[in-house]
């Protein structure tokens, strides 16, 4: 990659849980600023644990996590879970502006930025809707708006679209790429899906399990934004085959 310092680098990171599970061991990874990194790996290989380490929700048991350009700060990291994880008692706007509210920003600014974030994910006009009045895809959009409202430098996404139908997932994939492009934001996107990771990422990290570690790193050499018809192109198919083979090697290892 470039000679510039990465956004964050993990060196020899291990994480052992209280019950003795070694979720990650000897993990080395540098995440470049502005890249769209996808993390691909079998269930239980420590993908979520890695995201939680990056978010600072967990501390590594061994190794170090460095931020050569400086830590993005409390509001510099956004997190999107597999479930929308919204507050059911609050409407879409209140959910979207939550991070700003926790930061103690003035109410007017919270509302304005919350509205803008909702509009950016295509939910203008749904500010007053409660989560249960929204479809699964729309709830995920609210969740995305909430993560984007702080304009984070690093967006961590843990299989965010896994529970959605394929049509909605493809649309959200394109919208996410559009939001990422030109934003300067770094995205780390965990997924089980080879197809999704190839479509979205500029680079794929394939992980192996027991203990979780990096098995392979694949740059995705394809134009961004993805050209129309990319999903059915031969280039896409070849990239998917390559990622698939890497995943299989990782699972056999």
């Amino acid at each position: 990659m470039t000679a510039a310092a990465p956004l964050v680098s993990l060196g020899g990171v291990a994480r052992r849980f209280g019950n003795g599970t070694l979720a990650l061991a000897g993990l080395d990874l540098a995440i470049e600023a502005g890249e769209f990194l996808s993390i691909l790996g079998p269930s239980g290989c420590g993908k979520s644990t890695l995201l939680r380490l990056l978010a600072g929700l967990l501390a590594p048991s061994e190794g170090r996590i460095d931020w050569p350009r400086g830590h993005p700060g409390r509001r510099g990291i956004g997190f999107v879970f597999q479930d929308p994880t919204l507050m059911p008692w609050a409407d879409a706007l209140a959910n979207a502006r939550l991070p700003l509210r926790l930061a103690g920003l003035p109410r007017a600014e919270q509302e304005a930025r919350g509205r803008a974030a909702l509009a950016a994910v295509g939910l203008a006009g749904f500010e007053r809707a409660y989560p249960r009045e929204l479809s699964g895809g729309m709830r995920m959009r609210v969740s995305l708006a909430r993560a984007l409202v702080t304009r984070p430098a690093l967006l961590l996404m843990d299989e965010p679209f896994a529970a959605l139908d394929e049509i909605t997932r493809h649309r959200l994939n394109d919208e996410l790429l559009a939001l990422w492009q030109g934003s300067g934001m770094t995205v780390v996107f965990v997924t089980h899906s080879v197809f999704e990771s190839v479509y979205l990422a500029t680079r794929i990290v394939v992980m192996a399990a027991r203990p979780g570690r990096v098995a392979a790193v694949l740059p995705v050499a394809a134009p961004m934004p993805r050209p129309p018809g990319f999903r059915t192109s031969a280039a896409y198919a070849a990239l998917c085959r390559e990622a698939s083979a890497a995943l299989e090697r990782a699972m056999a290892a």
């Binding site: 929700l57 997190f79 479930d83 507050m87 008692w89 609050a90 939550l98 926790l102 409660y130």
Partner: protein, 263 residues
């Protein structure tokens, strides 16, 4: 649901009730049961109307104790729950004693309380409170600890203070649990008040509905006894329904339990 079946939904239990009352009255008349054994509904209604000044005053007295006890139960139960949620140690130290209070039958403690506390109203209040506060405490503790784990992590990620996590996350998450506890406590506060009045009434004091029942029993005024009984039931139903309405109004926009059948 269309209008006609919905009307039927309400009409049906009302009709059942009327049929039972009519049958009761018919039986009492047919077998000429004396009113001091079993009064018919008409006699009870007459007693209710004639003794209304007396009974309504007693009703207010009982209701006042029950509602004040409920208020105290909400305050103390709610505050204790928040305290428990803030500190596991406090919970460890105090929760067993809340359970002890809960499992000891109120009829067994009421005489002691009446001896120790000079003010009768206060003693009654204390008895009713002991009965009512536990469901609020235990439900609210459960609710405060049942917030979505991922949301808790999110709050942590954004550096929420303890106070913010309590106010914006844990309290709203606990609300449905609290309200369910409140509905149970509403009925229990009335039961507690009536039981305490019985115990106190045996000692010759008090003017609540339970006391009227005892008094009517001594005087063999059975229709009045039934009238007082009907008032207690009506009171309980009213409290339950009112708290149900509160529950519905507070939860209807977001909680599954408040979803209309029609979705």
């Amino acid at each position: 649901m269309s209008a006609a079946p919905r009307l039927l939904l309400w009409l049906l239990p009302a009709l059942t009730g009327l049929a039972v009352l009519a049958g009761w009255e018919a039986l009492v008349r047919h077998f000429a049961v004396p009113p001091y054994v079993l009064p018919g509904p008409v006699a009870v209604a007459r007693a209710l109307a004639e003794d209304w000044p007396l009974l309504s005053a007693s009703l207010l007295a009982t209701l006042r104790i029950a509602l004040l006890a409920l208020l105290a139960a909400v305050t103390v139960g709610g505050l204790l729950a928040v305290l428990f949620a803030q500190s596991r140690w406090v919970e460890r130290a105090l929760f067993p004693y809340a359970v002890v209070l809960q499992v000891t039958p109120i009829v067994a403690i009421a005489p002691l309380i009446l001896i120790w506390v000079d003010d009768v109203t206060l003693a009654l209040l204390l008895c009713a409170w002991i009965v009512a506060f536990f469901p609020i405490l235990s439900n609210t503790v459960l609710g405060l600890n049942s917030a979505d784990r991922n949301l808790e992590e999110l709050f942590r990620l954004y550096g929420a203070t303890r106070w913010q996590a309590l106010w914006l996350l844990r309290l709203p998450a606990a609300l449905p649990f609290f309200l369910a506890g409140l509905r149970v406590a509403g009925g229990l506060s009335l039961i507690g008040a009536v039981v305490a009045e019985f115990v106190a009434g045996a000692g010759g004091t008090g003017s609540g509905l339970a006391f009227r029942i005892l008094e009517a029993g001594y005087q063999l005024r059975i229709p009045r006894m039934f009238a007082a009984l009907a008032l207690i039931s009506a009171c309980g139903i009213a409290i339950f329904a009112a708290l149900g309405l509160v529950q519905h109004l507070l939860l209807r926009r977001w909680h599954e339990s408040a979803l209309g059948r029609e979705g």
